[in-house]
Symmetry: C2
Subunit: 364 residues, 2 copies
């Protein structure tokens, strides 16, 4: 494995990173290359944990920011090595969007910003594209919380080089209505659990989701049945019906408040007996864009052509910073709709714009 030249043009660095395969669980080689390159820089203090790397400047500046990205990709589908397309205007290949373009921006700036005006903690981690329990950023927050203190965080997930602030939280609950089985020729001997779900579906259909302003951004919520199942045979009155409810909630609410809201909506439906099991619980994250530090970032990004900040509707790892009390935004090159696509490609201008935006914000 050749050394990574962090002083190469940022788009060339992105190409080099794509050509080091790093499907989740196979991040060892790319982590080695990154560690070697960052350790060679005397202005950084480097810590490695598994296949995650934390590199910190320690200038003593009054503010510290985290800039983070994951090293892994979803599986390769004939899209490695990378290819230049459109006369070099487009970089094609697995991870060009999610998120080796963002990693290139980080590594390029980590090398060139020897004395940033804000101290920076660069975080490159493993296992983002797989089950939550393996997530490298989660592991770092448990093992090295002292290295993850900061006033603000930027996660370089693809946003087409715009700021997408914070994220909605998401939770799922299985709501089960009990019934009494019986042969359907003698239905009066049973109690139909599917019929008992009617008031819950009616309540969900009538529910009007809120739009919530948080730190200057507007988050749209949603409360939906995303699954329903009931019945075991065509001649049996069903003894159970389970509705899977998904709540996407704005970062003005804690997870506990969101759970209480869902329980209140269900309780108000008048279901009689019901059982609830939480199957997914992920907190929201505030964007923190009303703080001076964040406003200066928005200004720098706007100056780099990035447009006005918007709310992030989906859930991303910024919520892990929210858990640590750190407001956070998403900001990275590439169209998020192309993440995980076989035809994954990123405009070189996006990569350059993100480097310019972050550089303007961090330079003295």
């Amino acid at each position: 494995m050749p050394d990574l030249d962090l002083h190469a043009p940022v788009e060339e660095l992105a190409r080099l990173l794509i050509d080091i395969p790093s499907v989740s669980g196979g991040e060892h080689a790319i982590a080695d290359a990154v560690e070697r390159a960052l350790t060679a820089l005397p202005h950084l203090t480097v810590t490695r944990d598994g296949d995650a790397i934390i590199a910190r400047t320690e200038t003593g500046a009054p503010e510290r920011v985290i800039i983070a990205g994951h090293l892994d990709t979803v599986p390769i589908k004939g899209n490695v090595p990378a290819q230049w397309r459109d006369d070099g205007a487009t970089l094609w290949g697995r991870g060009s969007v999610d998120m080796k373009g963002g990693l290139a921006v980080m590594l390029s700036l980590a090398a060139s910003l020897e004395r940033p005006m804000r101290d920076v903690t660069w975080v490159l981690y493993d296992h983002e594209e797989v089950e939550e329990s393996k997530n490298g950023l989660g592991r770092l927050s448990r093992r090295h919380a002292e290295l993850l203190t900061a006033d603000f965080a930027v996660l370089c997930e693809p946003t087409s080089a715009a700021i997408e602030g914070g994220c909605n939280g998401t939770l799922r609950a299985d709501v089960t209505l009990p019934g009494i089985a019986a042969h359907s020729a003698r239905a009066w001997k049973g109690a139909n659990a599917i019929h008992r779900a009617a008031p819950l579906l009616t309540a969900l259909a009538a529910y009007e989701p809120a739009s919530v302003d948080v730190d200057g951004l507007t988050y749209r919520e949603g409360l939906n049945a995303v699954g329903i199942r009931g019945g075991i045979a065509g001649n049996v009155i069903p003894d159970a019906c389970t509705v899977t409810v998904n709540y996407r909630f704005a970062p003005d609410k804690t997870l506990a408040q969101a759970q209480a809201h869902v329980e209140a909506v269900i309780a108000s439906a008048g279901l009689g007996e019901w059982d609830l099991e939480w199957t997914d619980l992920a907190a929201a994250c505030r964007p923190g864009l009303d703080a001076p530090l964040a406003m200066s970032f928005a200004d720098a990004v706007a100056a780099a052509g990035g447009g006005a900040p918007r709310a992030k509707e989906g859930w991303t790892d910024v919520a892990r910073f929210g858990d640590l009390g750190i407001p956070a935004v998403n900001y990275g090159p590439g169209d998020p709709e192309l993440a995980h696509a076989d035809e994954e490609w990123c405009p070189v201008t996006d990569i350059q714009a993100c480097r310019a935006g972050l550089k303007a914000w961090l330079s003295p």
Copy 2:
């Protein structure tokens, strides 16, 4: 295979029939034995079709009745050969209830009633316990309709030796509500198909099933969701939700009328767009118990200790006689709840009572 002695005591004949295994598809041996025994009786005209046998008296009496039963059983579970239990008061084994007790009654009477006061068409058929397309009675009605003309029919399915008249019809429909898929973080871009099922479930929950008097018996109807499914992933707004509806309808309705009723109930729910697919359509059968012929049968059964006739709630092959315009009842030895049970057993008194009831009705 020894010859069947049709002049043996009826319960002994039942035991002999149990000991000839005849799981669906394996009725050849029992059909051979039955054909041989019936062909030996000069007062019967015997026709064989596959493993089904039709044996007719031809006395020229003004009325003709069909008495029918199936030769096959569900799979054997260590319950063949038969066993006498309770000092001979109980016959235990596969088919003792469903329905070699009934077959023994039929064969015993077919042999002894040389000149019944009503002409009798004895029908013993194959493939009742498997998919509808293989049903031997259905095949006979297609190939030998001329041999299945009659004024009344008795099907010797287990009823604990009581008359269970006719049967409810049953139909199933898959009602599908369409939606528009979207990521659940951006639910406003989709249309939730599960939510759209709410008015249908509300209508089904509110539906009050009728009790319908037909020919002197009361049939309880039922309209139920017996299945529901929707949703493909925990983060996707579902683009389809399918509710399986089962309608059990009284024999005052034709199948077409029952279908129209279900469509009317669904239409009245106000669902907007919906799609309907019929997955099961089985007509009802009138009991015909208001006719003199049937009333005389009820009297004979009551005299044999069988109690008052009642409606048959479930669907049985009597409906095939309904299709042919022949009113029909179920009447046979054994508790129907024990049909298909590993512990299948029949009181000898039931077998004897059914023989006595039919004999009293048919004897000059």
